[in-house]
Amino acid sequence: MKNILLLLILLLLTSCVDSPVELNKLEHDLALTFVIRSNNNRQKALVTYVNSPGDKYSNFPKLVNDCEFYVNGIKFNINDSIDYSRFHNIGYFYNYYSDSLKTKDIDTFHLRVVKGNNIIVGKTIMPGEFNIIVSGRTIKWSKSSRAYYYSIKIENTSNNFIYKETTDGLFYTIANTDFIPGKYTIEICAFDKNYFDYYNNQKDPSGISGAYGIFGSVRCEKIVANIK
C-alpha cells in the first residue's frame, strides 16, 4: 500500500514535466509571392520583409523595393506606389511587374531575385492548354497537363450572379436552386504544383528557395456560354 502511494505521488510529480521541444526560428527575412498567369499581359509580383509576431500590425506590407528581379532573364520593373484611388481603405498594390514576359509557347519559368546577399531562386512549369464545354448545367473541361487542380468562376454581371469553386475534377454541375438560366462568363484556371502545395498543403516556401512565399503559374481559359 505504502509503495503504491509513493508510486502514485511520483507519477503525479512527473506529470508536471514535459520534455522540452527544440523550436524552429525564422529561416528567411524576405517573402516573395508571384504567380504567372497565362491570361495576363502584365505579370506582377510582391517582395516584402517578414514581420515578427510582436511587430505592430499594419495593412501595408514592408515593401522591398531594391531587388534585382528576373524571370527567364527578363528584368522586372519596380513600382512601389500605392493606389488609393479605387480602394480607399485597403492597400492594393504591387511592386514588381513586367509587360515583356510572354507566356505563350513557354512552359518553364526560372526566377532569380537578388537583394544584397540574399539570392532567391525558383522554378515553375505552366499547366498545359485545355478546352471548356458546357452541357446543360454541367461545365466540363479537358485535362490540362501538369495541372494539380482547377478553379471555376461563373459570372453574370447583369443578374449579379457570381460563383467560385475549386476542384481536382474535370467537371462542375450547377446545383444551386436559385440559379437563373442565361448568358454567363465561365473561367476555368489550372494551377501548377507549387500553387497546389502552397494553398492546399500549406507548404511555405513553395517553388522557391531563399525566401518564404510562392513562385507558381496558372493557365486560365474563358468562354461565354448560355446556361439553361
Binding site: 502514485l8 527544440e22 523550436l23 498567369r37 517578414v50 506590407p61 481536382d168 436552386t177 484556371c189 518564404y212
Partner: protein
C-alpha cells in the same frame, strides 16, 4: 487476414463448446440471496468468498449467488464485500440448512448523503466504471448537473474545451463514443452546440462507462460506451423538483403495487424570462420528457415501456432586426422502447429518431438518423460457468439533406462540402454474440472469459473476438488481462481541427467497419470498504479510421490508422465524512493519414483529476472537482507577411493592383501551451420541512478564475493576435470564466 479469422473462429468454437470447470465430482449447491438490511432490495455485484474452499463468486442483479461446495464440508465461512455495504462474515452450517437457500442482509456503509461517490466497476475487466446518479447530481456543474462532465473526470478521458463537453476516451475521436439511454443510442446528446448534455440526469440511476471490453449489447464503437440506466423499481420512490438558473425539472418515481412509474419533465425558461422583459418573440427552449412504466407480472416476468424526447427548439427572429429571417432549430432525439424480461432472458424493441434540423428563409439543413433495434439476450450456467448469448439487429437509416450558403457551410459543416446535398442511406446489421466464462481453474484462482461477436454488414461477415484472463489470488486483489478486436459502423469522418464541433456533422454509414485491436492489463485493489485502487494499462492499435477529405468529391474519405497507449490510475476513498476520487492518466495518441503521423489536439500526456465530497454537520455538503492536464499542442507563429491575392478570378489585366492578404508562417514543430487547471465547487444546504425537504445549492465554476486556453493559434485567431498586437503567448480563445450559479431542489 482471412486465414487468421478462420483459425480464430475454429479456436473459439472449440473453446466455447467445451466450457470446463475443474471441480471434483461430489458437490452440493449452496444458493444464497443478498438484500439491503433497510430496504430489502437485492444487493447486486457483491463479492462472496468462501475461505474453506478458496472459491468466490458475485451476486447477480437479483442479489442471488451460487456456490458449489464439496459434500464433506460441514461449515463454510462466507466473506461478503460490496463497495456500498459493510463487509460481512457469515458462518453457514451446511447440515442445518434445509434447502441450502438462505438470505443475508447487508448494512449500508457510512456514505454521506450528497457527497460524491464514484467507483470503479469491479466486475468488468479493468476498463469499466460506474457512476451513480447521486454523484452526477452532486458534482459542481455549470448551472445544471451534466452527465458528460461527470464522465470527464474518469481516468483515460480527456476534454479539449471548456465550451464543449465532448469526450475523448483513450485518445479517440468523439464520434468513436456511443451514448446509450436504457439500451437506445442517442446521436444528439448535446444542447447549445455542446455546452450542455441533453440528458435529464434526475432520471438516471447509474451510468456505466466502458473504455474497452465493451458489452455486446452496446458494441459498435472504437473508444467508449456510456450506458445510462434509468431509475427502476429497486430505487427508493421520490418526487423531486429542481429549479436551476436555466430550467425547472420535475421527476417522480413511484410504485403502485407491481407497477413502477418514472416520469420526468424538464424545460428551460429563458424564453419565459425574455417574455417578461417584453421580448415576446424570443422563442428558444430546451425540454426533456422521460417516461417509463414497468409492470411485474410475476417474480421473473417484467415489462418495461420506455419513451423519451429531448429537443432544442429555436424559432426566433433576430432580435436586432425584426425583418431578418427566422432561424428554426429542431435538434434532439425521440424514442420508444419495449423491454420484456423473463427469468433468464430479455428482449428489447426500440425505435429512436435522432434529428438535427435548421432552416431559415435562405437555407436549411436536415440530418436525421432513424434507428430501429432488437436486442435479445439469454443467460444460463454450464458447470457453474456463466454463459450469455444474444442477438442484436439494427436497421439504421440516415438522411442528409441541405441547401446552404457559403458562410454557414464553412463555419458549421466544413470547407468544400457541396452547397446542396441530398442522400438517404440505410443498412441492416445482424449480430449474434456469445459472452461466457470458458474456463475456471479454481485452485489456481484463474478464470478465462470469451466475448465473440459476429457482424453481418452489407453481405460481409466480420468476426470480433475477445478474451479475458482473470487472476484473483486474494479477496482484495484482482489481476486481469484482456485482448480484443473491435469495430465501428458509423462515423462522421470529421476533420481533426473541427472535431470539437460534432453537433452539426452528418453521420455516414461505413461499408467496411473501422477496426481496432486493444490489449489491456488491469489491477484492482479493494482495501475493505474504505479504499479502492485500480491501475490499468492499455495499448490500442487502430487499423482503420476515416477522415473526410477536403475536396469536392463529397463525401470522400481518407483512410488512416492510429495507436494509443496509456496508464490509468484511480484511487478512491469511499466512506466517511470525506470521500474522494483521484485519477491520474498518462496517455499518448497518434494518428496517421497519408503517411503523416501526428498527435491530435486532445492528446495531453498527463492529466490529473479529482472529485471530493465533504459532509459538514448533518445538513451541509461541500463538493469540489478539479482538472489538470498538460498544455494543448499548438504551432507557434514564427512570422507573417503580405501575399498577393492569388485566386484566379481576383486578378486580371483590367486592374492595375492585386489584392493583399496576410500569410502566417507557423512553426512546423508543435509545442505545448501552459497546463490547464480548473477548480469547481458547490455547497448544498438541506432544510427540513413539514411536507418536503429542500436543498439550496450554490456552485461556482472555475473558482480560481484560471485563464485556460481553448483554442491556440489556429489560422483564424492567429491573425487577430497579430492585428491586436497581443504578446505572442496570449494568443488563444479563453476558456470558461468564473461562473457562479444557484438553485433549489425540493424533495417530497
Amino acid at each position: 487476414m482471412y486465414l487468421m479469422d478462420k483459425l480464430t473462429i475454429y479456436l473459439i468454437l472449440l473453446i466455447i463448446l467445451s466450457p470446463s470447470n475443474h471441480y471434483s465430482q461430489h458437490y452440493s449447491v449452496l444458493k444464497g440471496n443478498l438484500v439491503d438490511s433497510l430496504t430489502n432490495q437485492p444487493v447486486y455485484n457483491a463479492s462472496i468468498l468462501a475461505d474453506e474452499i478458496q472459491r468466490g463468486t458475485t451476486s447477480n442483479e437479483r442479489g442471488n449467488f451460487i456456490l458449489k461446495v464439496p459434500e464433506n464440508i460441514e461449515v463454510i465461512t462466507l466473506k461478503i464485500y460490496h463497495i456500498y455495504y459493510e463487509t460481512k462474515t457469515v458462518k453457514i452450517y451446511l447440515h442445518k440448512l434445509n434447502k441450502k437457500n438462505f438470505v443475508i442482509k447487508l448494512r449500508q456503509g457510512v456514505i454521506p448523503l450528497g457527497a460524491v461517490v464514484v467507483k470503479g466497476e469491479k466486475t468488468n475487466e479493468s476498463a469499466g466504471y460506474l457512476i451513480s446518479g447521486k454523484t452526477i447530481n452532486n458534482l459542481p456543474a455549470l448551472a445544471e448537473p451534466d452527465i458528460i462532465r461527470a464522465v470527464s473526470f474518469l481516468p483515460g478521458v480527456s476534454q479539449f474545451s471548456d465550451y464543449n463537453p465532448s469526450l475523448h476516451i483513450r485518445g479517440g475521436f468523439i464520434d468513436q463514443n456511443a451514448i446509450v439511454y436504457d439500451g437506445i443510442e442517442l446521436f444528439n446528446p448535446y444542447y447549445l452546440l455542446g455546452v450542455f448534455s441533453s440528458i435529464n440526469t434526475k432520471t438516471i440511476d447509474k451510468t456505466n462507462i466502458w473504455t474497452a471490453n465493451y458489452p455486446p449489447e452496446h458494441a459498435g464503437r472504437l473508444s467508449g460506451i456510456i450506458s445510462l440506466s434509468s431509475i427502476d423499481r429497486e430505487s427508493k420512490p421520490f418526487v423531486n423538483l429542481n429549479l436551476s438558473l436555466i430550467s425547472a425539472n420535475f421527476t417522480i418515481a413511484k410504485k403502485y403495487g407491481n407497477t413502477f412509474l418514472l416520469f420526468g419533465v424538464k424545460r428551460s425558461y429563458l424564453d419565459l424570462i425574455m417574455a417578461l422583459l417584453g421580448k415576446r418573440n424570443f422563442d428558444f427552449k430546451l425540454y426533456n420528457i422521460n417516461f417509463k412504466v414497468s409492470h411485474q407480472f410475476s417474480g421473473d416476468i417484467e415489462t418495461d415501456i420506455i419513451a423519451f424526447e429531448n429537443n432544442e427548439i429555436s424559432n426566433d427572429p433576430n432580435l436586432e432586426n425584426e425583418n431578418s429571417p427566422n432561424n428554426k432549430i429542431y435538434r434532439g432525439n425521440k424514442a420508444i422502447g419495449i423491454k420484456q424480461r423473463f427469468k433468464n432472458h430479455s428482449i428489447l424493441f426500440s425505435f429512436c429518431r435522432n434529428f438535427n434540423e435548421y432552416s431559415n428563409k435562405n437555407y436549411y439543413y436536415k440530418n436525421i438518423i432513424d434507428d430501429f433495434g432488437v436486442k435479445y439476450k439469454y443467460e444460463f450456467d454450464i458447470n457453474y460457468l456463466k454463459q450469455r448469448i444474444g442477438f442484436n439487429f439494427r436497421n439504421i437509416n440516415v438522411l442528409n439533406n441541405w441547401d446552404l450558403d457559403n458562410d454557414f457551410k464553412d463555419s458549421f459543416f466544413g470547407k468544400n462540402i457541396p452547397f446542396t446535398y441530398a442522400k438517404r442511406a440505410g443498412v441492416n446489421i445482424y449480430q449474434p454474440w456469445l459472452e461466457n466464462e470458458i474456463l475456471a481453474l479454481n485452485k489456481l484462482k484463474i478464470k478465462i472469459k470469451n466475448l465473440t461477436m459476429i457482424t453481418n454488414l452489407s453481405n460481409s461477415i466480420y468476426l470480433f473476438p475477445g478474451f479475458t484472463l482473470e487472476y484473483y489470488p486474494s479477496p482484495v486483489y484482482k489481476f486481469s488481462i484482456n485482448a480484443e478486436k473491435n469495430y465501428q459502423l458509423l462515423t462522421t469522418g470529421i476533420f481533426e481541427e473541427e472535431n470539437y464541433n460534432l453537433i452539426n456533422k452528418p453521420y455516414f454509414i461505413i461499408a467496411k467497419p473501422l477496426q481496432a485491436y486493444i490489449l489491456g492489463v488491469g489491477n484492482d485493489f479493494n482495501f475493505g470498504n474504505n479504499y479502492y485502487l485500480s491501475v490499468n494499462a492499455y495499448y490500442k492499435i487502430i487499423t482503420k479510421t476515416l477522415k473526410l477529405l477536403e475536396n469536392n468529391k463529397y463525401p470522400e474519405f481518407s483512410t488512416g490508422s492510429g495507436k494509443s497507449y496509456g496508464v490509468e490510475i484511480m484511487f478512491e476513498k469511499l466512506t466517511g465524512i470525506l470521500t474522494y476520487q483521484l485519477n491520474y492518466t498518462y496517455q499518448k495518441t497518434f494518428y496517421s493519414f497519408k503517411n503523416e503521423t501526428y498527435q491530435p489536439k486532445w492528446s495531453f500526456p498527463h492529466f490529473i483529476k479529482g472529485i471530493m465530497g465533504i459532509e459538514l454537520g448533518k445538513t451541509w455538503k461541500f463538493n469540489l472537482s478539479f482538472s489538470f492536464h498538460s498544455g494543448a499542442l499548438y504551432n507557434r507563429i514564427l512570422g507573417y507577411y503580405k501575399s498577393i491575392g492569388l485566386f484566379a478570378g481576383e486578378d486580371s489585366d483590367k486592374y492595375d493592383v492585386v489584392r493583399l492578404s496576410d500569410h502566417i508562417i507557423f512553426d512546423d514543430k508543435k509545442t505545448r501551451y501552459k497546463p490547464y487547471w480548473r477548480l469547481d465547487v458547490s455547497f448544498r444546504k438541506k432544510y427540513k420541512g413539514k411536507y418536503f425537504d429542500w436543498i439550496l445549492y450554490i456552485q461556482v465554476q472555475n473558482i480560481t478564475f484560471n485563464d485556460n486556453p481553448v483554442e491556440i493559434y489556429s489560422d483564424k485567431f492567429a491573425l487577430d493576435i497579430i492585428k491586436y498586437g497581443k504578446p505572442q503567448d496570449s494568443g488563444y480563445l479563453s476558456g470558461l470564466p468564473i461562473i457562479p450559479s444557484v438553485g433549489a431542489e425540493f424533495i417530497f
